[in-house]
Symmetry: C2
Subunit: 341 residues, 2 copies
């Protein structure tokens, strides 16, 4: 086994966009597992918009990463050394871990992974790790879709958005995705079966919504905030629902963002807005994994992943989430050829 | 029976606060009931913040009042002439009607009123007409109060607010009212049993909330909007709920109001905001009336009313809702000594 590991540590809290030197990548001695611990070789690191929140000390839903500590992420890997009963070498685990190629753990925050037949590790980790259950609980529990309703998904080509739209189609909704760029929009309609897509870079979101959904929007699966939220909010229908699981537009802001401009619609149209974090549904995780696994096996849910090599380039990869430079669920392949390991 | 009636008509749509001449009061010939109609002598007219919305042509939850038409309100009265089967002269009815001392109706929008024993017409009309069910459904269905939670009520000395706070106490909540002026605050604590009250005219709402509820607010029964909403919103707790049934602060605005300043709390604290209008609960009206009647009979819900004489001064009376010049559920006594009729 290696005697060193590579780790990203948070050197200081970013102000606005992440700058050179906010996170520092270095080799350090491999920690030795004590009794009750094991060593996981990290094969994939998931990069998610929420990572930027964890770097800040603004109020948030988990403790922020301490300055000097390894950066936190969602990881999947294989046990390479175990001093913990019940944890076998070779077993696959996923959960919360450091941005590193090896981690020592007592198992807290990690769950054993069972791969559905025919589903590669990267896909299972990408879907079941975080984005699939986020889409599942947010859309079904909060959005409560009914057949024939109009569902709008912002950041639709991202990890969560792809799955939200496809579940919406399964439930009989008319699904309109909002994404940045013609290629992503084509993918949503041609590959994932969305009814329509709006390119927020090249098109006027409000005008396109008026054309595509003249009667308005029943459900807005909200992940972005800012002007895109304003455009959709102004077009919500009576008794509309808005699951809110992200505010990407504001993560790099140093200013506070206001709520929707047309706030009076909350009352006049009796809207419901509900924020959620997928970990709130921890006790129902199995339900989401079973449903998603079933739909994947039937070919009704496809995912596009954006798997990139190089743990050493993780910060640049993460940045692409906020600039729109990524396409699909973003994973770092920590070990070359991880799919074979 | 009188041969003339007095009616307020909407002469033009107000811009900002209601101005002289926006509504016009005049006598006109008494309309004759046709077959299937009856004449109601209006005894009480309820004045509610929402009346201002109906005068505008902004998007709203009912059709706006047409320019030239009688102003719309909630009325209670007695049948003085009937050409409709099943409607007896002398019967009490309440519901939607004109700002007038007599109305002709086919019964649409009106319901027969049964007075609980010992409860005067003005009290029954004031509580059961609109504000009681609003408080009941908004707090219980959307707020979902649990014993020990902290409930904040804005516009707490108003018709809805008084009842919300008292139902909150019945459900075991710690109740903090926000009202304008020391007298109203004293009333909330001393007469209605609120745990505390904040005078938004003389006190810093945020600082007082920090002192009174250092752990934050579980439920904000929201009726006001603007800076008071911002102060409470910033102090909402994890999984907080916010029934929203009014935005008084903005009804006289000509500008659109933004949503809450600290919008990110929606996500970080997983808040739920839900707009509602009491008519959404029309099919459960009886449930609210039964529960409220029971609590009133037990002395657990008291109400303060602000009953004012003079239909001819209705606009000035209504104005007091937006300036804070009224105290308690505002009713106009259309007929002198209506309580005896």
């Amino acid at each position: 086994m290696a005697t060193e590991r590579n780790v990203w540590r948070l050197a200081r809290r970013p102000v606005g966009a992440i700058a050179e030197g906010d996170l520092v990548y270095a080799s350090e001695a491999m920690p030795e597992p004590e009794a009750g611990q094991f060593v996981l070789q990290v094969l994939y690191l998931s990069l998610d918009p929420t990572n930027r929140i964890w770097m800040s000390d603004a109020e948030q839903y988990m403790p922020p990463v301490e300055v000097g500590a390894p950066m936190r992420g969602l990881v999947a890997g294989r046990v390479v050394k175990s001093r913990k009963d019940g944890v076998a070498e070779g077993a696959l685990y996923s959960g919360i871990g450091p941005w590193a190629d090896f981690m020592v753990s007592d198992g807290q925050g990690l769950q054993p992974m069972a791969l559905p037949p025919g589903v590669p590790l990267s896909v299972a980790f990408g879907v079941f790790g975080l984005v699939g259950p986020t889409a599942y609980f947010g859309l079904l529990d909060i959005g409560r879709p009914k057949a024939g309703e109009t569902l709008v998904v912002s950041a639709a080509a991202g990890g969560v958005g792809q799955i939200v739209g496809q579940i919406g189609r399964i439930k009989g909704c008319r699904v309109i995705g909002i994404a940045g760029g013609a290629e992503k929009c084509r993918f949503l309609v041609d590959d994932l079966g969305f009814d329509a897509a709006i390119d927020h870079r090249g098109e006027d979101v409000g005008a396109r919504l008026d054309a595509l959904a003249p009667a308005g929007v029943d459900i807005n699966f909200e992940q972005v905030g800012g002007p895109i939220l304003d455009a959709v909010f102004a077009r919500m229908r009576l008794f509309g629902r808005m699951p809110l699981c992200g505010l990407i537009a504001s993560y790099n802001d140093t200013m506070e963002r206001q709520g929707p401009a047309a706030w009076r619609h909350m009352l006049m149209r009796r809207l419901t807005v509900q924020g959620f974090i997928v970990t709130d549904y921890a006790d129902r995780w199995g339900e989401a994994v079973a449903a998603l696994g079933g739909w994947m096996a039937e070919g009704r849910i496809k995912t596009r992943q954006d798997v990139r090599p190089g743990l050493d380039r993780a910060v640049a990869h993460l940045d692409s989430l906020y600039t729109g430079g990524n396409f699909g669920k973003l994973l770092v392949e920590v070990v070359p050829d991880a799919a074979r390991i």
